[in-house]
Amino acid sequence: MGGDYDALILARGLTRYFGQRPAVVELDLEVRAGEVLGLLGPNGAGKTTTVRMLAGLLAPTSGEAWVAGHSVVREPEKVRPRIGLVSESPGFYKRLSVRRNLQFFAELYGVHDPQRVEGTLSLVGLSDRAAEPVATLSKGLRQRLALARALVHDPPVLLLDEPTSGLDPEVAKEVRDLLSELSREKRGILLCTHNLAEAERLCHRVALLKTRLIALGKPEELKERLFGRRVVVTLSHSIPALPENLGLPFVRGLSLDKNKLYVGVETPERDNPRLIKRLVELGAEIVYVTEEARTLEEVYLELVEGGE
């Protein structure tokens, strides 16, 4: 294995070209047990290609990846039983019942215990629909069945490509809750999503992909790295003139918008008392002070659409 630690997914220099067109270039990432890694990026960024390479469905042009300790290049047959895959558009045999569909895939994964199938159906809330043909299920219920298919053989690694895509908010939340529960079971989960709020809520770390990896880290770290930290001081009235950076060494930029003063600081916990004291000295009447909340969406837009 390419690392000496307990990564369930480990990719090193993973690259895939389709003809002359690069789909994924030099991707390095790892997902540990109990971790949800969000893979974000615009359409065509290489997310699905990455998932397919990790699932042993596509061979990398160069580089290597290991899933649950097995090389996807040299041992794809050992990788497949160890992953649960929810693909971009999960299909089923629509004329067969929900139970028969799950039973089929369970048996291909070597699971012949009917109780396991029933238990998985129960986990995703499909027990009462088990006898019905898949054709009668809504998109949301099919998505739940896709999760059941990914879980029925109890794999240590889950590769989820847009698992909440097209679901109504209520069902999407149920799926997210389920994923959150699954990550507590010490699985490694790679979650491809366009839903940045979902990624922020579910993922311990996120990777921003645009053919190449352009950022990797905890959402909070990325926000801080990209924007720094800013406090917003709401004043009772605007102040006409302020000295540059308020004359304070820790201030990294200052802007005033009506009665709101935006101040970039290194560590608000440490710097705020001195900042407030200084503003009061300058004659400001402070109503309240908050830290500016940046979203993952802003990070995404800055990195992906604003150019690297």
């Binding site: 299909g91 045999y93 089929f104």
Partner: protein, 236 residues
């Protein structure tokens, strides 16, 4: 075990479509009916002409085993792709050999059951018409043709259909090309109609040996060119 799982699922899925069942049953009954009509016509003919017509009627039972595998087999991979089940299927630990062989066997077995069942009806009908089953029908070359050539023909058609299905980017194109798989089934018909040779032991032996070799070659070739990633990425 995986092979059995795949075969049982395929049948469960396939035979839930009533039109597939009707389609599978209609053609053998129709061809069996035509063969039976020819036998009925042969009743009043002099002996050599009667034998010739009965021989011709038997040729239908060599075309039958290729028809069902072609029509059903060509959809096997294309169909998985169209309903979005191919990626999850390929992500399971099933091997290429299991997948390829399983999907071929799925269409060969019903085809043989139907061929032999209709042949049984044909035997019963000729026995009724002639008082006993006439000699050409129970001759060794024909019994070998029905019970040995038929499985080889059927497997050939299934393998060709599978290869076409796995290599085609479009289901319509797959159906167009699949008609090629019928050719070995109609070779005896062509040969016999053109009076190039009789359907004798030598002919059956040669065609059987060629078909066996072709089946083995096609199975290995099919698995070799069954490229999972190409199948996944070629379709959009």
């Amino acid at each position: 075990m995986k092979l059995k799982t795949l075969i049982l699922k395929e049948w469960a899925d396939l035979f839930r479509i009533k039109m597939v069942i009707y389609g599978c049953v209609f053609m053998p009954l129709f061809m069996g009916g035509v063969a039976g009509y020819m036998a009925w016509q042969a009743r009043s003919l002099p002996s050599p002409a009667q034998a010739a017509l009965l021989n011709t009627s038997l040729l239908y039972f060599l075309v039958l085993p290729v028809l069902i595998p072609v029509t059903l087999g060509v959809y096997s991979v294309v169909g998985e792709k169209e309903q979005g089940t191919l990626e999850p299927l390929l992500a399971t630990p099933i091997s290429d050999l299991q997948l390829f062989l399983g999907k071929s066997v799925v269409v060969v077995i019903p085809s043989l059951i139907l061929t032999w069942a209709v042949f049984g009806l044909f035997l019963a009908a000729t026995s009724f018409l002639f008082g006993s089953v006439p000699r050409p029908i129970t001759s060794l070359p024909w019994l070998l043709s029905i019970f040995v050539l038929s499985p080889l023909l059927s497997l050939f058609a299934a393998l060709v259909a599978m290869i076409i299905s796995s290599r085609s980017a479009d289901s319509r194109a797959a159906y167009q090309f699949a008609s090629l798989a019928v050719v070995p089934g109609i070779i005896p018909l062509i040969v016999y109609s053109a009076r190039l040779t009789a359907v004798d032991l030598k002919f059956v032996g040669i065609e059987g040996a060629i078909l066996l070799a072709l089946d083995v070659i096609l199975l290995f070739l099919g698995i070799k060119i069954f490229q999972r990633e190409e199948i996944l990425t070629r379709w959009k």
